[in-house]
């Protein structure tokens, strides 16, 4: 009897282990930020992947404060297998050995070069897979232009003219003096002022830092272009008075709502407020266009999100498989179409006509900006965040000065700060 019982237990155990090993799934954990709507969108993508790859399950986990969470998780060796985050953080993860490099040849050749550049570190290797890109362009009030018989401004001179009319000529025709020309970001918090400065600086032909080769950089603030950009922005606020009060503390939420509430006629940022704006103002009243050109052209700041792979994960191949899947035409299109929150702002692929996919003409200028090389990304230094803050503080200081400041002196001071930061990061050119 005992012998019989032992044999039964033995067979049951063998069957149990065999069945679990046959059914075993590898589960990849990926962290992302956003809100529950994003989590639902990512979960749908994970389910689609799982249908095609039943042996791999994907668990997307939402962390609204993802960067903070990753830093603490990194220190306690509890990072997830991968995470999706702003491409400007690449240098930070590489410097601290958080991420593993990837072979670009394993992915579609339709992924834009400019998107891959955001995943590249100083050593020339790629440390992430581009997932979504976005670039800044200008939203404007079509109805205000029509009411005043104006065209969208194509250059800075026209921008002054249009914003002055928006401010002084009652563009909403309500008989009240309650409008302004343009919303600008001026807060130094989280580097919002940097958005303003970086865009206009590139348009003026300047830049914050310059790549001198061999992984070395130097501040490029001390140029006439910087003076032109700062002077122009200061004039918009104090000479032409086309910017709403409180610009030196303006963060994204204030600027977005000033456009959405009909206070300003123009704002610039990436294409993530289409539905909010069209719902609030009417689809026919909102337009989008490439930024008005400065003396060097029309440029906008590029942003986006990459997929980063934990350097210690044992599921590297599975994540590569998932990333390949996420960069296919189907999933990129799907990622742009999911409502209410689309995790793909603009596809990283150049073979997708974005406006056709989203059925929203507002998206068209944003894609055109990418395809016509009007979008620029900041230089690949180990940590761009401190540079962003220095630039934002410069912008804020200019916005706080009612009288035009001594630009040369100001630029010299901030030029030195940038070089000190580059030196701290060990990338300052001699």
């Amino acid at each position: 009897m005992a012998k019989k019982l032992t044999s039964i237990i033995f067979f049951v155990l063998v069957f149990f282990f065999l069945s679990t090993s046959v059914m075993a799934q590898t589960t990849i954990e990926i962290w992302h930020r956003g809100d529950m709507a994003y989590n639902e969108a990512y979960t749908q993508i994970g389910e689609r992947f799982n249908e095609k790859n039943p042996e791999i399950e994907v668990n997307f986990v939402l962390y609204p404060q993802l960067e903070d969470k990753l830093i603490t998780a990194g220190m306690s060796d509890s990072l997830p297998d991968a995470w999706i985050l702003d491409n400007v953080t690449t240098g930070k993860w590489v410097t601290n050995d958080f991420v593993r490099s990837v072979n670009r040849d394993q992915f579609s050749d339709q992924i834009m070069d400019v998107a891959w550049k955001t995943a590249q570190a100083g050593d020339g290797k790629y440390y992430a897979i581009p997932w979504s890109v976005q670039g800044m362009a200008m939203y404007y009030r079509k109805d205000w232009l029509d009411n005043l018989g104006l065209e969208f401004p194509e250059n800075w001179e026209q921008l002054i003219n249009v914003t002055q009319k928006f401010t002084n000529a009652d563009p909403d025709q309500d008989g009240e003096d309650n409008t302004y020309g343009i919303g600008l970001y001026g807060a130094s918090t989280r580097g919002y002022g940097y958005w303003t400065l970086q865009n206009f600086l590139w348009q003026a032909g300047g830049s914050l830092i310059k790549n001198t080769g061999n992984g070395k950089f130097i501040s490029n603030l001390d140029t006439d272009a910087t003076v032109r950009a700062l002077e122009f922005l200061h004039d918009l606020v104090y000479k032409y008075e086309v910017v709403p009060p409180g610009v030196s503390a303006a963060q994204s939420t204030e600027v977005y709502s000033s456009f959405q509430n009909g206070l300003v006629g123009m704002v610039f940022h990436a294409n993530y407020k289409n539905s909010a704006y069209t719902n609030a103002l009417g689809r026919e009243n909102v337009g989008a266009a490439i930024m008005p050109a400065g003396s060097a052209g029309s440029f906008g700041l590029g942003e986006g999100e990459n997929i980063y792979i934990n350097s210690n994960t044992e599921k590297y191949d599975e994540i590569i498989k998932l990333a390949q899947f996420m960069t296919t035409t189907d999933i990129q299109k799907f990622g742009m179409q999911i409502t209410p929150s689309n995790p793909v702002r603009l596809s990283v692929r150049k073979d997708i006509d974005i406006a056709k996919v989203t059925n929203n003409p507002l998206d068209k200028p944003f894609q055109e900006a990418f395809l016509n090389n009007k979008i620029k990304y900041p230089e690949n230094i180990p940590d761009y965040y401190p540079i962003k803050i220095i630039a934002a503080e410069l912008m804020q200081e200019v916005f706080l000065a009612e009288e035009a400041p001594n630009y040369e002196q100001l630029i010299e001071e901030y030029d030195q700060k940038i070089n000190e930061e580059l030196e701290n990061q060990g990338v300052l050119a001699e």
Partner: protein
Amino acid sequence: MKNIKKKMLKYRTPILFVLPAVIFFTVFKIFPILNLFWLSVHQVGRDVGEFVGMQNYIRLFSDEVFWLALKNTTIIVILVVIFGTVFGYFAALLLTEDFKGQKLFRTLFFIPVVTTVSIIAVVWKMMYYPGESGMLNSLLSYLNIPAQQWLADPDIALYALIVPLIWRIIGYNMMIFIAALKGLDQNQLEAARVEGANWWQKLIYIIIPSTKYAINMVLILAVLRTYKVFVPAYVMTSGDPQHRTETIATWIYKQSFRYWDMSYGAALAVVLFLIIMFITVMQKKFQSQ
């Protein structure tokens, strides 16, 4: 050894009662504080790296933002403690009197205490909207005072940040003072009245001395809580403009999680801990005298 064992056996029951609290306190309070100091003297990246000694503490002397944050925080503490205590005390004096609607007023005063801090910060930020249509600016326009850029003007931003902090703490202080005022010896007050003492004399010579323990407690708690002020400061201004509203806590957060300098952030946190400890000890010493 035998003696200790004997004592342990003798006090076994009280020790067992106290033990969970001691373990909890050690794991969640003592250990993090010690760990903070450990981090502050090491290079911290993904792992705790090489020993850097007092480097971070030396760096602190040349960190202009830290000194500005210390100054800002101290101004916040002084104003919040003074106005929060005085207004809280007077609110308690008023609301211990019997009148119709007393409970309603108590509730109204206490609502800010139970409301989430971040929501209060967002609401005040909206009230401070810098345009003429902003709530506070609309009120000013009735008085023919020009619109103010409350949170954007370097000269007033810090004080604009302090107002909601005072507003919030009044209700909390008021409740402590009401409890203390309820315990007043009514015979003593009655005797003073018979002797011809007016309200002010009763307040100065009887009420305040009788409630000094509550005042001491409120002062200590207010200093402890306000020195660590983070959420309202971060939500409303995040240190803007030009670090004029930076507090020590927001600077610790930025250094640790934005600049990713955990080691320096830990050094700043240790300094904040020492400042609070020093002030608390001094306060207790002063009050016991």
